[in-house]
Symmetry: C2
Subunit: 341 residues, 2 copies
């Protein structure tokens, strides 16, 4: 095993004091003459002493590190959303001088050790994720970014206001004259998908419109699979004049499927996506999408968690909703009414 090169004991010996005095001298606590304190500080400097964070962590119970758990985090840096989210979290943690630990996250293998962190952020909780469940049961403070699916233990939640943004899109689409809306999003594994689907169906019921829905397997990023799902939906519901999609990867599949079906996006059929990404501004035509401000969301998660960790503050009862903004583009314009059909 790797031993510490210089320990507090060495410093104490060099300064001719006891370890306890040395500790107090360096942390600015305790009672002693200025001369003693200086002697210790100088000895520490001369020896290039750096306290062992693990030992400090054991004694004080805080390691100044926040854990970030995300299913398959490895693949997911590809997603703009997650990348921005992490950037936000990192902003928040670094501001408070915490490290950020990306937790090893093979969902199949539960993990033995409790990670050496003060608290955990679970990004995008998924129902069948064993490790997330472990973390929730571990007694560590946890904050979820996005709503956990049903059946997960409760924990404080910070989420974007998906429902509000979705309603804006649907209302606008109704103003454009849409009669046959459809929604495609992930299965029940994702709390976020369930929420969107429920909101979509509620809105359809309110308007007295038939709502068609399709399911994409959560986490599947392949264009081909999404194309298939959308193709089937269009075959089932050929009169569909609005497609609301949960996330950016599905849009690519939808565009292909729509083209194959001879439908023209922005006139024959309107299209919107519940999560934005730079590529959506570059599709032809550009796709209306919801900017979830993932960076702000990540930052908010970090800040809340650090507050919980440091001050044992009361966690918020209800989920905290952060505003989400619709970026209106040609696939479903925000302005003047488009002639449909």
């Amino acid at each position: 095993m790797r031993r510490q090169t210089v320990t507090l004991k060495d410093v104490a010996r060099a300064a001719n004091v006891s370890p306890s005095t040395a500790s107090q001298a360096l942390s600015g606590t305790g009672r002693m003459t200025e001369a003693t304190r200086r002697a210790v500080v100088e000895a520490a400097q001369k020896l290039n002493y750096r306290p062992n964070a693990v030992a400090q962590g054991l004694r004080t119970g805080s390691v100044r590190s926040i854990g970030l758990h995300h299913l398959h985090a490895g693949d997911r840096f590809a997603s703009d959303y997650f990348r921005e989210f992490v950037t936000g979290v990192l902003d928040g943690t670094q501001r408070a001088d915490y490290d950020l630990t990306l937790l090893s996250s093979n969902p199949q293998v539960p993990r033995n050790r409790v990670p050496r962190v003060d608290g955990v952020i679970i990004a995008d909780p998924i129902a069948d994720d064993l490790r997330a469940r472990q973390l929730l049961d571990s007694g560590l403070p946890v904050v979820a970014g996005e709503h956990p699916p049903d059946g997960m233990p409760d924990c404080p939640v910070i989420a974007a206001d998906h429902a509000g943004a979705l309603r804006q899109i649907l209302d606008r689409a109704a103003a454009h004259g849409v009669r046959r809306p459809a929604f495609v999003g992930p299965d029940a594994n994702s709390g976020w998908g369930v929420l969107l689907r429920a909101e979509f169906e509620r809105w359809c019921a309110d308007q007295g419109l038939p709502g068609a829905t399709g399911e994409s397997r959560f986490g599947d990023l392949s264009v081909a699979e999404h194309r298939r799902v959308i193709g089937e939906l269009l075959a089932r519901e050929p009169a569909t004049d609005l497609l609301v999609l949960s996330s950016e990867p599905i849009v690519q599949g939808a565009l292909t499927a729509l083209e194959a079906a001879g439908r023209r996006v922005g006139s024959d059929v309107l299209l919107a996506c519940c999560g934005d990404s730079p590529t959506l501004a570059m599709t032809a035509p550009p796709t209306t999408a919801v900017d979830l401000h993932p960076r702000a969301l990540g930052m908010a998660c970090a800040e809340l968690l650090i507050r919980l960790v440091e001050h044992d503050a009361e966690p918020p009862e209800a989920p905290v909703l952060l505003p989400a903004e619709v970026r209106w583009r040609a696939s479903l314009p925000g302005g003047a009414r488009v002639p449909l059909g």
Copy 2:
């Protein structure tokens, strides 16, 4: 401070054995009857015992976490290179069941504690980064991804074969008839920039060609600034017929500057970039660039570091060079000769 809910002592009490026996029972070491071992394991399960990784870390000297240090990591997730690099590192660490800790990295403020990690990867070491220096001095095993600049303490290095790729580009450009090559890259802060610049100048000397160079401040991502630098270079050396740029952000500035100067990329002037990114395939015309395989590089760093940490293996003497591939595109075609000028 937050206390552990269930400790080894609790398990031992429940199983009617001493803590030492409990520890040995759970780790499969020591001598005891099968009955005793089972009793301990069952007690641990019933109490939902999870060992405290911090205490384990203190005792064993290993916390199963690798640190990743990168200057301003917060902003840098924007860079495709870094993102891919991190993904590779994450691949490598997760495969060995290590966590990855993104070290808080404000370069101005040196840090007191030695981080709770078994080793550190320094991505893209920069000369005036205090924290990188601290890490190198800390006694922790360190691996650098990319060459550290002169003046940094030695450490094992894994890097892409920049020089080889640059030579391929220059040779190809020479075959196209280039007479006035120019290079723009970061200042001496970056080991990578220094290496590229030196290789460029060596090649020019070998060929008996005059080589012009420009400097971009390292870490500056603004298009306007790069445009200015390239504009000045073009004013100074109007006959320039090849621009080799260190990294992707500079390309945007170069394209603007070249257009303003009325130069046509791919015919009047050839253009290449020493680091690839998806956007470079989408410029007009597409830009020839070097694919540094950042993901493979990150993975290699993680694997080497874990080997060093676990087996106290000998670090490689010389920098390990990973192959880099030139992606030939219209801005400097790899195939038939283009008529220059």
